[in-house]
């Protein structure tokens, strides 16, 4: 294994990086990444969406709003008001690269590349209260659920159907 060719190593590293390079799709979290909710009162929920390290912050926020709108319609309400929201960032560090000299014993010429970089992932939370009829005009934190579904719908990426 110490004679592992540098080329093979590069291929392996890229394959590994490609493997986790898919943003979290719109799906229930089920303990991992995705959306989840907790009912707090009859018409109040805490909604959250948790994205993996390649999910953009804006996407996490969009998916959270989309879930809030979806829940509102599922419960036969028309609008929701965000009463509290939060965004959590967690950072981990990942190393990447390879060291030619370490693996290629003769080691007379060749590049070596190793670095560690921060990897951020975001979780967005919102407490929402659902209401019926027209949203209150004066409250900028009130969202028309159908309007949100209309505008964010095209950005939603659902999990690829695997053979099931």
């Amino acid at each position: 294994m110490s004679r592992l060719s540098p080329l093979l190593l590069v291929v392996l590293v890229s394959a590994w990086l490609a493997g986790c390079a898919t943003p979290t799709p719109y799906k229930p979290a089920a303990g991992g990444f995705g959306y989840s909710e907790q009912q707090l009162e009859n018409n109040r929920y805490r909604v959250s969406f948790s994205g993996n390290s390649v999910t953009r912050r804006g996407t996490v926020q969009d998916y959270l709003l989309y879930r809030a709108a979806e829940l509102t319609l599922e419960h036969h309400h028309d609008y929701f008001t965000i009463v509290n929201q939060d965004l959590e960032r967690s950072t981990s560090y990942q190393g990447t690269g390879y060291n030619n000299f370490g693996f290629w014993r003769p080691g007379w010429i060749g590049p070596s590349n190793y670095s560690a970089y921060p990897v951020d992932s975001y979780t967005a939370f919102a407490d929402i209260v659902m209401g019926d009829g027209e949203k209150p005009a004066g409250n900028v934190n009130s969202f028309n659920a159908r309007d949100v579904i209309h505008w964010l719908g095209p950005t939603i990426e659902r999990p690829k159907e695997s053979s099931s």
């Binding site: 912050r57 804006g58 926020q61 969009d62 709003l65 965000i82 929201q85 965004l87 960032r89 560090y93 000299f101 080691g107 007379w108 010429i109 590049p111 070596s112 590349n113 670095s115 560690a116 970089y117 921060p118 951020d120 900028v140 934190n141 969202f143 028309n144 309007d147 949100v148 505008w151 964010l152 950005t155």
Partner: protein, 168 residues
């Protein structure tokens, strides 16, 4: 005897100062620039992400400028900031540097010369600040008493001199 007859090492380290220039005002390409996402008929999320050489106040100005631009482009007059967040990422490594090491040695019947080139580039991942705003747009005079309301045309006029377009 073929002991190490010669051992010479030469190490040149060249540290190049960060030659990054601040992010200009432009739509996001990769990690920096502005992005917008429509959320409701009159609501957008606007964000501007600057690189590590872009000061936070400039990032804030550019996000506001984009909000004003969108407001006018969509036929509205003023916008209210419903929520705003700032995300700052510090550099975990120092500024970009390039090190070149040249070493030579002979001995033991074999000879070898090694040239090592290593680079630690700080720009390989996003650094800097991002300001993100959820804005709601309205028509008519902005309510004088509402401090979260911005007159779009006034913002455009005041911030225009600070806007730096990307080099042609």
């Amino acid at each position: 005897m073929t002991l190490m007859r010669q051992l010479c090492g030469l190490v040149i380290l060249v540290g190049l100062a960060a030659c990054t220039s601040p992010t200009p005002y432009r739509a996001a390409t990769g990690d920096t620039g502005y992005r917008d996402q429509q959320i409701e008929t009159n609501r957008f999320r606007v964000s501007f992400a600057g690189n590590s050489a872009t000061p936070l106040n400039r990032v804030q100005d550019y996000a506001l400028y984009r909000a004003a631009e969108l407001t006018v482009a969509n036929g509205y007059d003023y916008f209210k900031v419903a929520s705003r967040s700032t995300d700052t990422r510090g550099g975990a490594v120092g500024g970009p540097s390039i090190g070149v090491g040249v070493g030579g040695g002979t001995g033991g019947g074999g000879g070898g010369v090694g040239i090592g080139l290593s680079s630690i580039l700080g720009g390989g991942y996003p650094q800097g600040s991002t300001v993100s705003m959820d804005i709601v747009m309205f028509r008519g005079e902005k309510p004088a008493a509402d401090q979260s309301a911005y007159d779009a045309r006034q913002v455009l006029k005041r911030l225009a001199p600070t806007i730096e377009a990307p080099p042609a």
